[in-house]
């Protein structure tokens, strides 16, 4: 059974159909991509998956359980973590504090424990710090841990977001345009990082991306959508040669993004 199964997903905003009858699946341990021209509804799909939007119809099964109509934080707790298209760091907090947020759903001390500083609370705090530092080390930002998040370079801020998502100990990581705004070298590092996350940590990855080079290099399965509906699916080669895909991209205004 696939880790993530989406079937007949539908979403509309005040009459406008944003996603229609979308079905796809992500297998355990793979890297999958969701692509499509601007405004095709990719981020909307992410928002449905992570519980930020409530779809009108369809099914989303994650790890064998339906996550439809679940609150975003419960979905994260179930093992699906995401990054945002526009950076959404906690700007005025330190890098380490940012990453610690990921551990929130894996720990449980409440107000009483915090006030009394019980033994279990102190152990938990130590665990939160060590896991967060591991995650930072994984993305190569451990030295920067005490800096304010918004003083970091753009590319580093992205990596903080990744570390933060990794700290939630996800089974599936959703990356929303991870390469946006990165230069050539940074993109190369990014590809290594994506592969390392899958290979070293065993985390399944689903990404949305405009950069076709990157998509083609890392993804084992690609789903192409346009106007909220699936137009093609398959490996990089299959998709690249699909006439519907070419038409969708060339017919769209930002065809220059492609290939």
């Amino acid at each position: 059974m696939a880790l993530l199964e989406v079937a007949n997903l539908g979403l509309s905003f005040s009459g406008l159909q944003v996603i229609q009858k979308l079905s796809f699946a992500v297998e355990q341990g793979t890297i999958a991509s969701l692509i499509g021209p601007n405004g095709a509804g990719k981020t909307s799909v992410f928002n449905c998956l992570t519980g930020f939007y409530r779809p009108d119809s369809g099914r989303i099964d994650f790890n064998g359980h339906s996550v439809i109509r679940r609150k975003p934080h419960k979905i994260t707790r179930a093992g699906m973590a995401r990054t945002f298209q526009n950076l959404r760091l906690f700007k005025s907090m330190t890098v380490l504090e940012n990453v610690k947020s990921g551990m929130h759903c894996r720990t449980s001390t409440g107000a009483l424990g915090a006030v009394l500083q019980t033994g279990s609370q102190r152990r938990e705090e130590a665990l939160i710090t060590s896991v967060s530092e591991e995650c930072l080390a994984f993305v190569g930002l451990l030295e920067q841990k005490d800096r304010r998040a918004d003083t970091l370079a753009y590319g580093d801020q992205r990596r903080v977001e990744w570390a933060r998502a990794l700290a939630t100990k996800p089974k599936l990581l959703l990356l929303d345009e991870p390469a946006a705004g990165l230069n050539f070298d940074e993109k190369k590092e990014l590809i290594t990082l994506i592969l390392r996350i899958r290979d070293e940590l065993g985390i399944t990855i689903l990404l949305i991306e405009h950069d076709m080079g990157l998509v083609m290099k890392v993804s084992e399965m690609i789903t192409v959508i346009d106007y909220g509906a699936k137009i093609a699916e398959g490996t990089a080669e299959n998709v690249q040669n699909n006439p519907k895909v070419i038409e969708a991209y060339l017919g769209s205004e930002d065809g220059e993004d492609v290939l």
Binding site: P72, R82, R88, E97, C105, R148, R164
Partner: protein, 320 residues
């Protein structure tokens, strides 16, 4: 500039935990010994300042930590005060036994108002809390058990180990101890998993939610703990005043407490204490300006929001 370099050196010196503890101990010692050298009037004023410190620290959890604007905080304070007042004066319950009841009632009030409304956008929440504050006051005004518009009178003074708490000095120490406790609890909470969760939610609700933090639950926590502070303060307020009436729990009272939180600096414990003292000392020290008090506070609040939104107390130093 000489001034700023001195300030930096002071804050450098303050950085190690040890030095900060020294300062705190000295301050606590001074606060403990003050009653020996001042008269009743000054004592009464300082007692009031500690009382507002507790309230402001409680509201600070809601406004400063969780970033929720609560314009009806006096309601929680009222619930605590009335619960104790009614139980002691109408049912003859021992004061100390009323505290857990009063605190539970105010926490329950926090749950009732917070539960359904914390989903709302922040500006709606402000109005809802305002309305809730007024509703509590009007209920207190209209019920028989709360003594109607003239309130409850003749609330008994409590005793502890055979000592009746009746003199100003007794209440000074009661409120000082409560304020220290409030600081301690606030401090521990601020640096905990929950404290960080409040900060995450305040900075970016969606990102916090995506990180697996249930924003409604976290906000509700802030609300209920804030209400608890108000409830405790209310219990002791009732026995100190021996009489309570709905006029104490108006919208202006809520605004006053909010002012204390904003003046010193939202979310910062020393700032909030300074804010609370400023509230209480200002009308006593500048008596001639008494009727302009709220105008001056309003202007100061405006200036603070525009030029120094972090409040009077300096921002925590971070390595850049």
């Amino acid at each position: 500039m000489a001034g700023s370099s001195r300030l930096t050196s002071v804050s450098d010196w303050l950085r190690p935990q040890q030095n900060r503890m020294i300062v705190l101990l000295v301050l606590a010692g001074v606060a403990m010994l003050i009653p020996l050298v001042v008269n009743n009037y000054v004592l009464e004023v300082l007692t009031n300042a500690w009382f507002y410190t507790i309230l402001c620290l409680g509201l600070n959890i809601v406004v400063g930590y969780a970033g929720l604007l609560d314009l009806g905080y006096a309601a929680f304070f009222a619930v605590g005060a009335y619960t104790t007042g009614i139980l002691t004066s109408k049912f003859g319950v021992n004061f100390w036994l009323t505290i857990p009841v009063a605190v539970s009632c105010s926490m329950l009030a926090g749950l009732i108002i917070g539960g359904p409304t914390l989903r709302l956008r922040s500006d709606y929440l402000a109005i809802v809390t305002l309305g809730f504050g007024e509703i509590v006051r009007i209920i207190a005004r209209n019920l028989d058990i709360t003594g109607g518009a003239s309130g409850l009178i003749g609330i008994d003074r409590p005793s502890i180990f055979g000592l009746e708490l009746s003199r100003g000095i007794h209440f000074y120490y009661v409120f000082l101890l409560l304020a220290i406790l409030a600081c301690f609890v606030s401090y521990r909470l601020q640096n905990s998993r929950l404290g960080r969760a409040w900060q995450y939610v305040r900075e970016d609700e969606d990102a916090a939610e995506a990180m697996g933090i249930g924003r409604v639950a976290v906000k509700l926590y802030a609300y209920v703990i804030g209400a608890m502070f108000g409830g405790v303060a209310g219990c002791f307020f009732a026995v100190k005043m021996t009489a309570i009436s709905p006029e104490t729990f108006t919208f202006s009272q809520s605004v006053l407490i909010l002012l204390g939180v904003v003046l010193g600096g939202m979310g910062k414990i020393p700032g909030v204490i300074i804010g609370a003292f400023a509230l209480v000392l200002f009308p006593e020290v500048f008596r001639g300006l008494g009727s302009m008090r709220m105008l001056i506070f309003g202007i100061v609040m405006l200036v603070i929001m525009l030029y120094r939104p972090e409040g009077i107390w300096p921002q925590k130093q971070r390595e850049m």
